[in-house]
């Protein structure tokens, strides 16, 4: 006990409680064992504890035994600390990263089928170009567009095309990875 406590004054009034709401959106990246039932355990945990998942994406990683689950949770509503600690209790969850938006690359993909009659077809094609999106299917009455990017970009594309008549939309939910530091 070399550097054991000294008799310093510690005023109890100076102690601050931990935890609470962060007020922002959190992007959690989980590495989980790739086996049946793992997703059910995660989903069950969220519903049981009253946490809401905003988006969820699941897929393989470079290691066939491990899958990645990326989910977004609103830190203004749920104490993120509690969410991650509860997730950690799941035996199949190996690692959790609460991604910092500044150091992560996050992308989402979405498909939009939009009304495209002769009078607005040109405008939709124009939007598609501005957003660096792709037309992946065309019919006489509609155009299907694939958009990839940040959630904000996809949100704004949606806002642009909605007035033209959005027939159907499918979004993947975000996936993310930590940015490599410039020197590495």
């Amino acid at each position: 006990m070399a550097d054991s406590g000294t008799k310093d004054i510690l005023d109890l009034d100076d102690l601050r409680a931990e935890g609470g709401l962060t007020g922002r959106r959190h992007l959690l990246s989980l590495l989980v064992e790739n086996r049946p039932g793992v997703l059910a355990r995660i989903a069950g945990l969220f519903s049981r504890r009253g946490f809401n998942i905003d988006t969820l994406a699941v897929g393989p990683t470079e290691d066939p035994d491990i899958s990645r689950v990326t989910l977004t949770v609103d830190g203004a509503v749920h104490p993120i600390d509690q969410v991650t600690k509860q997730l950690h209790k799941l035996v199949n969850v190996i690692k959790i990263r609460d991604m910092d938006p500044d150091t992560a690359v996050a992308r989402e993909m979405a498909l939009f089928r939009i009304n495209a009659a002769a009078d607005n077809r040109a405008e939709i094609i124009e939007f598609t170009q501005i957003f660096r999106a792709h037309i992946v299917d065309v019919s006489r009455r509609s155009i299907t567009v694939e958009v990839t990017g940040t959630t904000e970009k996809i949100d704004s594309f949606e806002r642009m095309v909605r007035p033209h008549g959005l027939i159907e939309m499918a979004r993947t939910g975000e996936v993310a990875i930590v940015r490599a530091r410039p020197e590495s």
């Binding site: 102690l15 355990r41 799941l90 190996i94």
Partner: protein, 559 residues
């Protein structure tokens, strides 16, 4: 080797001596293997009892309790016990038979998705998909059940897989579980800050819970308390973690705790939570809970820290390891103990003004509190006491002054009526040389009275002291106090004739309905060989006090 035999080998390697259960179609191969196994199978009369017996076994001995059930209804009968073990963090392994793999998902005969049903109430579960997994899963199940924050683990084994031949190699070494690494040491920097905070506190309280029992850390708790004159209170689950008759002991806290304990929490400037989880039976109205206090929270489960009450000094670790470090650090500070004088004067004041009390009768009527006091005397305060759920449970917590850990086995988190008798069976199987007494409620006992047969068949020398008030007493109390005395469905009436019922199962039955006979009949019951039921007729409508009404604050205690 047949996979079912490998399962038994794995159980043997885990040191299993007893399991509790009932066989069935899907578990026939498992039972065929048990036929030759080195452990004893205690055949119960209902799977729920197998589960509670496994819990009683674990709580009394600290070893992992094991229960077996067949698929479908056998497994679903275990659910209450699994949920109970989950809420109270009891190290248990549940092994269920499942229908054949080709039937899974087809609504096959006696198929139930038990891993699915139990997902929210297990610490972890394994569904066997390859017979070679069985020994590995068993070792993992035991490891998970007993380490970190203990809890129930389920292993579900399809019938066809348990019959298959596998290459069995005994497994040694720690199981490989990359996502499971409980943190036990406790951060020394945090421990130092906690010691300093304690040295600067003028109104500290140690609030200890079931974690102290789980960790086998009652000695360590006593050391910490002795490092200064820290007042100590325990939760219902922590009783026995600190020796009850002790000058620093405030009694249990919470809804039916003592005023001294609850008022001390209310006025404390520093609360050190030790393996306790700030249940709502403790905090009452959260916004008014311990409004002046800062919190040190020591728990092995990080998710418990700041879950209900934000901690100022969180310490993740095993209390068995953290407490000695904390005591050492605290002693090194050589704090001035006279700073606690005023606090103790205040506490002494409450103790004098508000001792636990009840109105004694002048005739032969037996007050339920007296029954517990008499039980304490008759057993020298040294029996393993199991309990059901209700008023009798609370009176036991108040009036049976538990001095040692693992002697008070009850259902706290789930509050499962009918826990007492099967838990007593499990406790007696685990600790055959100890006196085991179940304090039962008449509403609770009838839920599991088929287990009289189990005790008789296995010649288990357990005693059931039935606190017979003719009611679902606790619910009656709430209807009286908070629902305008509109009594609905709370009267049990005089039936059954408990003495005859006991005798029908081969037990000795004794009736006691006079105060003068109470001590004598308890003595007779304890001295009679074999299982005995003592039916004690107590006051029918006594209320359990003191009490914090649900959702109220400690200050608002009534009675």
């Amino acid at each position: 080797m047949r996979a079912a035999d490998a399962l038994c080998e794995a159980l043997k390697a885990e040191g299993v001596k007893h399991v509790f259960g009932i066989p069935g179609g899907a578990s026939l191969p498992l039972y065929d293997a048990i036929y030759d196994a080195d452990f004893e199978h205690v055949q119960v009369r209902h799977e729920q009892a197998a589960g509670h017996a496994a819990e009683g076994y674990a709580k009394a001995s600290g070893r992992v309790g094991v229960a077996f059930a067949t698929s479908g209804p056998g497994a679903t009968n275990l659910i209450t016990a699994i949920a109970d073990a989950h809420m109270d963090s009891v190290p248990t392994v549940f092994i269920t038979g499942q229908v054949r793999t080709d039937l899974i998902g087809t609504d096959g005969f006696q198929e139930a998705d038990v891993t699915g049903i139990t997902m929210p109430i297990v610490k972890h579960s394994f569904l066997v998909t390859d017979p070679a997994q069985i020994p590995d899963y068993i070792h993992k199940a035991f490891h998970i059940a007993k380490t970190g924050r203990p809890g129930p683990v389920l292993v579900d084994i399809p019938q066809d897989l348990s019959r298959m031949e596998i290459d069995y190699e005994p497994i040694t070494g720690a199981p490989k579980l990359p996502g499971y690494q409980p943190n036990t040491e406790g951060n020394i920097k945090q421990i130092r800050i906690a010691a300093k905070a304690m040295a600067n506190a003028k109104r500290p309280v140690l609030y200890a819970g079931g974690g102290v029992i789980n960790a086998d850390a009652s000695e360590e708790l006593r050391e910490l308390a002795a490092s200064d004159r820290f007042p100590v209170t325990c939760t219902l689950m922590g009783l026995g973690g600190f020796p009850a008759p002790h000058e620093q002991w405030l009694g249990m806290l919470g809804m039916h705790g003592t005023r001294s304990a609850n008022y001390a929490m209310d006025e404390a400037d520093l609360i050190v939570a030790i393996g306790a989880r700030f249940d709502d039976r403790i905090t009452g109205k959260l916004s008014e809970f311990a409004p002046r206090a800062k919190f040190v929270h020591i728990d092995i489960d990080p998710a418990e820290i700041s879950k209900n009450v934000p901690a100022h000094i969180p310490i993740v670790g095993d209390v068995k390891k953290v407490l000695p470090k904390l005591t050492g650090e605290y002693r090194a500070l050589a704090a001035d103990t006279s700073r606690l004088d005023e606090w103790w004067r205040r506490i002494e004041g409450w103790r004098e003004q508000y001792p636990l009390h009840y109105e004694e009768t002048t005739d032969q009527e037996i007050k339920p509190q007296l029954m517990v006091e008499e039980m304490y005397r008759a057993t020298n305060g040294d029996a393993i006491i199991t309990s059901d759920v209700g008023q009798h449970q609370m009176w036991a917590a108040q009036y049976y002054h538990f001095a040692k850990p693992n002697r008070w086995l009850n259902s706290g988190g789930l509050g499962t009526m009918g826990f007492g008798l099967p838990a007593a069976i499990g406790a007696k199987v685990a600790m055959p040389d100890e006196q085991v007494v179940c304090l039962a409620g008449d509403g609770s006992l009838i839920m599991v009275c088929q287990e009289f047969a189990t005790a008789a068949a296995h010649d288990l020398d357990i005693k059931v002291f039935l606190m017979n008030n003719g009611h679902f007493g606790m619910v009656r109390q709430w209807q009286e106090l908070f629902w305008e005395e509109r009594y609905q469905s709370v009267v049990m009436g005089p039936s059954p004739d408990w003495v005859k019922l006991a005798e029908a199962f081969g037990w000795t039955g004794i009736l006691c309905d006079r105060k003068d006979d109470l001590a004598g009949s308890m003595k007779t019951a304890l001295e009679t060989d074999g299982p005995v039921l003592l039916d004690v007729r107590v006051t029918q409508n006594e209320n359990c006090y003191p009490m914090i009404p649900a959702g109220a604050a400690a200050r608002d205690m009534v009675g």
